[in-house]
Symmetry: C2
């Protein structure tokens, strides 16, 4: 991966250090909880840092924010590249803020954030929303694995909620494991599709359609409108093949045009209808509790693995074990035993 | 889960102890490598034990066996319950032994092995093959998680190969993660289907069809024969939707009747054709090397997790951390940090 040639990594890290050194967790949380977007941005930067002291401070900030009572709705939005996610969020976000909601947009995209200047990229993709005082847009943290992005995004959700954002939109690119990950951190999972894109099989195969609580056919304008209506019935038919969700919900299908601003209100009606229903049955809270529990177990597994594989002694020795395993000199389990013994005597 | 009422667990454990205490790894490997099926059975029992000393002895046995040069073919066989896997293996196995091959049958089935007496179960399901001197049938190890079953099965494959078994059939029930697991330990992955069972969508959705190197429609006899022929063309059509495998292979479809013993030779022709082709391009060896490497990484992750969650101090404390995470008193990452710190000071 090529680094951005216009930036000096050393210079950036010095600026970041200077900035972050002045942060006191409690002061930061106070400002953040008043809805200060600059404080929110700094808190997220703190959460995204891998510096040991920053991690401690971030833990403190997140723990304080977690305790604040909030009433948020977390919506995951996915779809293949080109489906118009940004344009949809731009229009959808404006509808939400016009109704008096504060909207935060976070992105989970470990694949692209490493290769492009995603901060600028994401903000210019949603020009109007970015300037809206009731909206906050934060791109995917860069230079991290999916596990890392997941952790940072989960903590960022908490921070946005403490800062008073009542609707959190989590955008993800329909690639790889991302959707499953985002599905595990939201209340409602929205799948954007195009009419007649012919990727229905892909969606079924990878289980994305099964995860969706709602499917919206985007770009339903001009010549596409008729096709979108047909696609809507087709998706409704396909969804009949799946059993209803564990809470009895049957995913809804609609279409919209983000550019012509049609059908956007209907999308919100589907989502808020779902939320109302799941709050009535307490499914909403139960799901959040289960997500928090899963989050802990994922965090443990992630930490165990990252501690192991980032250990300097393990890094030094693992290559030779891999070679011996491949050449069948030792069994993989014997190699694992030996490596874990080395790891344990290290701490 | 109900225990078998006719067995006294304490008595069994005493017999096992007595038996296993007399095992010397080198002697066992010597007997095993002469093709002694009793020694092979005992070696597998050793591998399946969770006793600390047995694990060391098992590591020794597996390591010695790994070094033996072998020429085996590992075939994974999957299909939903009722598709006739056992009857197929019974007939298919006899064809293979009649051609001078030594055939071992292993099962990966963590779901059912805990609830039924699988040793008796599996052997009586393949009555003729079980008595064949050139066949060896071993049921799924019982009372283990999928990770545990995987580990034991992988080691058992090595033992069977050292004992001179040249074709290893690994049967798995088409449920959950099992197929992916078995797919990662075989050279050829065979999917058994029934004509008109209507579960095609399930297979596509869960990626099983994509994993298959060959699809065989079983029970193609009597009234079913015509349906099987139609199903064959349908599957061939469906397979066109997928790109060819990384080695350029296009999965083949055939049909057979395990009861009437028709079409069985054709199944073997598909498999051996595939193996010949992939040996010519060295894909066969490269895939095995990659599988061994993955095996090491899986073993490491499995061990890290099992060491952590089986730690007595962690077991004692984790419940309270889960409670605090659910009630949002602490963040999941803070909880993970704390628990991992406890774990590290333990070793």
């Amino acid at each position: 991966m090529e680094k951005n040639k216009n930036t000096d990594p050393k210079g950036i890290s010095q600026i970041q250090k200077k900035r972050k050194n002045t942060v006191d967790p409690t002061t930061l949380v106070e400002a953040l909880c008043k809805g200060d977007k600059t404080a929110l941005g700094r808190a997220i930067t703190l959460v995204e840092s891998n510096n040991k002291r920053h991690i401690e401070e971030a833990n403190e900030v997140v723990t304080q924010c977690l305790k604040r009572p909030t009433k948020s709705i977390r919506v995951g939005i996915t779809g293949v590249p080109g489906v118009g996610k940004s344009t949809f969020i731009e229009t959808f976000g404006q509808l939400l803020t016009s109704q008096g909601n504060k909207v935060a947009v976070l992105t989970v995209d470990p694949t692209s954030s490493q290769s492009r200047g995603s901060i600028l990229g994401d903000k210019t993709r949603m020009e109007v929303l970015a300037k809206d005082p009731n909206a906050f847009i934060r791109p995917s943290p860069s230079g991290l694995s999916l596990g890392g992005v997941t952790r940072k995004t989960r903590e960022s959700i908490i921070l946005c909620e403490a800062a008073g954002f009542s609707i959190i939109l989590i955008e993800t690119v329909g690639v790889g494991q991302n959707e499953t990950t985002v599905h595990g951190m939201v209340d409602f999972f929205l799948l954007l599709k195009l009419a007649g894109a012919g990727d229905e099989l892909q969606g079924i195969k990878r289980g994305i359609i099964e995860m969706a609580d709602g499917i919206v056919i985007n770009k339903a304008d001009g010549d596409n409108l008729a096709k979108a209506k047909i696609a809507k019935s087709e998706f409704e038919g396909a969804l009949q093949l799946f059993p209803p969700k564990e809470n009895g919900w049957r995913p809804k299908v609609s279409f919209c045009s983000s550019i012509e601003n049609t059908g956007i209100v209907e999308v919100w009606e589907i989502i808020s209808g779902y939320i109302d229903k799941s709050k009535k049955t307490d499914y909403f809270n139960e799901k959040r509790k289960q997500q928090n529990k899963n989050w802990l177990f994922e965090a443990i597994e992630e930490r165990l693995k990252s501690d192991f594989f980032s250990d300097s002694q393990i890094s030094k020795e693992i290559g030779s074990y891999v070679e011996q395993v491949i050449s069948k000199e030792i069994s993989p389990f014997y190699a694992a035993d030996q490596l874990i013994t080395i790891f344990k005597t290290r701490s």
